[in-house]
């Protein structure tokens, strides 16, 4: 199939494309999910980033 001799190569070829499309579909379906505690998340992330900058200063 597709000019490929082995079925398992065809499977890997197709699965690679399907999994990339799966990533696309997953992202679209869950585009707005997972941001319920935005205020708390941003607060935590700001603290984390500020500590990260301190570590960055030593590089």
């Amino acid at each position: 199939m597709l000019g490929l001799e082995g079925n398992s190569i065809f499977a890997a070829y197709i699965l690679s494309i399907i999994s990339a499309l799966g990533c696309l579909v997953y992202g679209i379906i869950n585009w707005n999910k997972g941001g319920d505690n935005e205020k708390q998340d941003i607060k935590e992330e700001k603290k984390w980033e500020s500590d990260e900058e301190k570590i960055s200063e030593t590089l």
Binding site: L4, E5, L15, G34, E38, W48, S50, S56, T58
Partner: protein, 530 residues
């Protein structure tokens, strides 16, 4: 001329982004303040650009030319495991737990999760000592391309590559300039998109191209050129015979080593902590998936198809025409693609190498300065000095390895990458997975599992695996034979298979046998909001 002009333009743009980073105008914090809309895209490209390097394109692309399209199983794993599972199953919890515990590096994450500072030191040593093998693999990939496209000796190309990397690493490249990563990721995407369209078009389309590759094995003279290949090679569009030597190398070393090892890569795991919520990770998944397909999918397909081009023009298969696995992709690009594209691809490869090397040296720098030798009483200036000394040592080690490895192994890029990925998986993956999902796992079980994975990996590399044991010579020195179990298939089994299995079993069994050694309060703090 095109090549030099392209490199000058690329370096100018990169310097501009580094300058922006230095001014601190586009750090992650600014994205957050600005609403964080662009952040998932940048994070995904940054992750992808750090994951995919010259190793994947030149090294594994060359391996695909040698072993065939069976490497597409690695493409599948890099997308399904390296993006989908990594972002959703590992990324979301890593982000939340990392924030809960205020962890900033992979060793620190594991140490704080298990309340065991020794883990931090151990993981830091593993990263500091072994990451240079992977960094060398990336550097070899860039140098091999320069060697062929600029017609200079390998040593000169390696020296030039090292200079560019050193300037970037020591002057701003470790600061995590996200625009630079996104820019490099974008370049890589455009370059690989053109490459796949060009290759299929030149061969008359997808099916005719694959058919030509399938028919190659029956062409006169081809089988004679495959003398080095074990008899179980069934052509470039078939899997090697099940459990044959070829199958062992492709499946256990190349596909499993990298395809599973990606989950426990220190420089990638920390990327998850840079986003503000799970929503950002959800939004990053499509970009990551498509990007990685375009990188590994194209590199492995084009790598395999290069055999058709070489055979038509020279009567030789790719590895014979190029004179080595790591030279195949550079020679193919320089021979068959338009001059302007070779110049563009030179930039693509430098970008691919640079974005990965900066993340690798960032991991090495933090492992040495933050995880291993951090002392809060030290002044900041002294900390900077200590870190820079560590990076310098690692840089010299990387250069030396990049010089010698190609002399030892044909296909040194893929081999070096697989060694590091396998070692990380065997040492860290069971404890990392348990850190995210199990409240029951014991600290001592995790530590013993980690050490077991590491020790078994090293033992297998030094005494059993045919490639590494022969190259290291330790087995020969002690036991007067290049490797153990000669005459069986064991020397062809990659260390990851034995070491990861040992580490998983030890971690699980000991967690049931040993008494609880992490207090409930800490577990509650760790999993708060998860």
């Amino acid at each position: 001329m095109f090549n030099i002009l392209a490199v000058v333009i690329y370096i100018s743009i990169l310097s501009y982004f580094a300058y922006l980073g230095f001014k601190g105008t586009k750090t992650a914090k600014d994205y957050l303040v600005g609403g964080g809309e662009i952040h998932p895209f940048i994070m995904a490209l940054s992750y992808g650009a750090a994951f995919i390097s010259t190793s994947a394109i030149v090294g594994f692309g060359g391996a695909a030319a040698f072993f065939g399209m069976s490497l597409l199983w690695l493409t599948f794993l890099t997308i399904f495991v390296g993006v989908f599972i990594a972002f959703i199953v590992y990324g979301k919890r890593t982000r939340k737990i990392g924030h809960n515990l205020s962890a900033h590096t992979f060793p620190e994450f594991l140490a704080k999760r298990y309340k065991c500072p020794a883990i931090q030191k151990f993981a830091a040593i593993v990263i500091f000592l072994f990451m240079p093998i992977y960094a060398a693999a990336v550097m070899i990939g860039a140098a091999k391309f320069l060697e062929i496209s600029l017609h200079v000796p390998y040593v000169t190309a390696l020296f030039f590559t090292s200079i560019i990397v050193a300037i970037y690493v020591f002057f701003g490249g470790l600061k995590g300039v996200m625009y630079a990563d996104a820019f490099q990721g974008g370049l890589m995407f455009v370059g690989m998109l053109f490459l796949v369209i060009f290759t299929y078009t030149k061969l008359g389309g997808v099916v005719p191209a694959h058919t030509a590759l399938t028919d190659l094995l029956a062409q006169p003279g081809v089988k004679a050129q495959l003398a080095k290949m074990p008899p179980t090679f069934n052509g470039w569009t078939s899997m090697p015979g099940f459990l044959s030597i070829n199958w062992m190398v492709v499946v256990t070393s190349l596909v499993m080593g990298v395809g599973i090892g990606v989950l426990a890569q220190p420089q990638l795991a920390v990327k998850f902590m840079t986003v503000k919520s799970n929503r950002e990770l959800n939004r990053a998944v499509p970009v990551g998936g498509i990007f990685v397909l375009m990188m590994t999918g194209v590199a492995f397909t084009v790598g395999a198809l290069s055999n058709v081009f070489f055979f038509r023009d020279t009567g030789k298969i790719a590895v014979a025409a190029a004179g080595g696995i790591d030279k195949i992709i550079p020679l193919f690009l320089n021979t068959y693609l338009p001059e302007w594209f070779v110049a563009l691809f030179l930039i693509v490869l430098i970008a691919a190498g640079m974005s990965t090397l900066s993340s690798q040296f960032h991991a090495i720098a933090t492992a040495f300065g933050h995880d291993l030798l951090y002392n809060e009483k030290q002044s900041q200036a002294k900390q900077v000095l200590v870190t820079r000394i560590g990076v310098l040592i690692a840089f010299v080690l990387t250069f030396v390895l990049a010089y010698y490895l190609p002399m030892i192994w044909d296909g040194a890029i893929a081999r070096g990458t697989a060694i590091f990925f396998g070692l990380c998986a065997a040492s860290f993956l069971p404890m990392y997975t348990a850190a995210l999902y199990s409240k029951r796992v014991r600290k001592s079980a995790a530590v013993i599992g980690m050490v077991t994975g590491f020790v078994v990996s090293l033992f297998w590399m030094c005494f059993v695996h045919f490639k590494t044991a022969s190259a290291l010579g330790i087995c020969n020195l002690i036991l007067n034979k290049p490797f153990l179990f000669k005459g069986t298939k064991m020397p062809f089994v990659d260390p990851i298979v034995i070491a990861l299995a040992s580490s998983i079993i030890v971690t699980i069994v000991l967690s049931f046998v040993l008494k609880k050694d992490i207090d409930d309060e800490h577990i509650e703090k760790t999993f708060k909001g998860v």
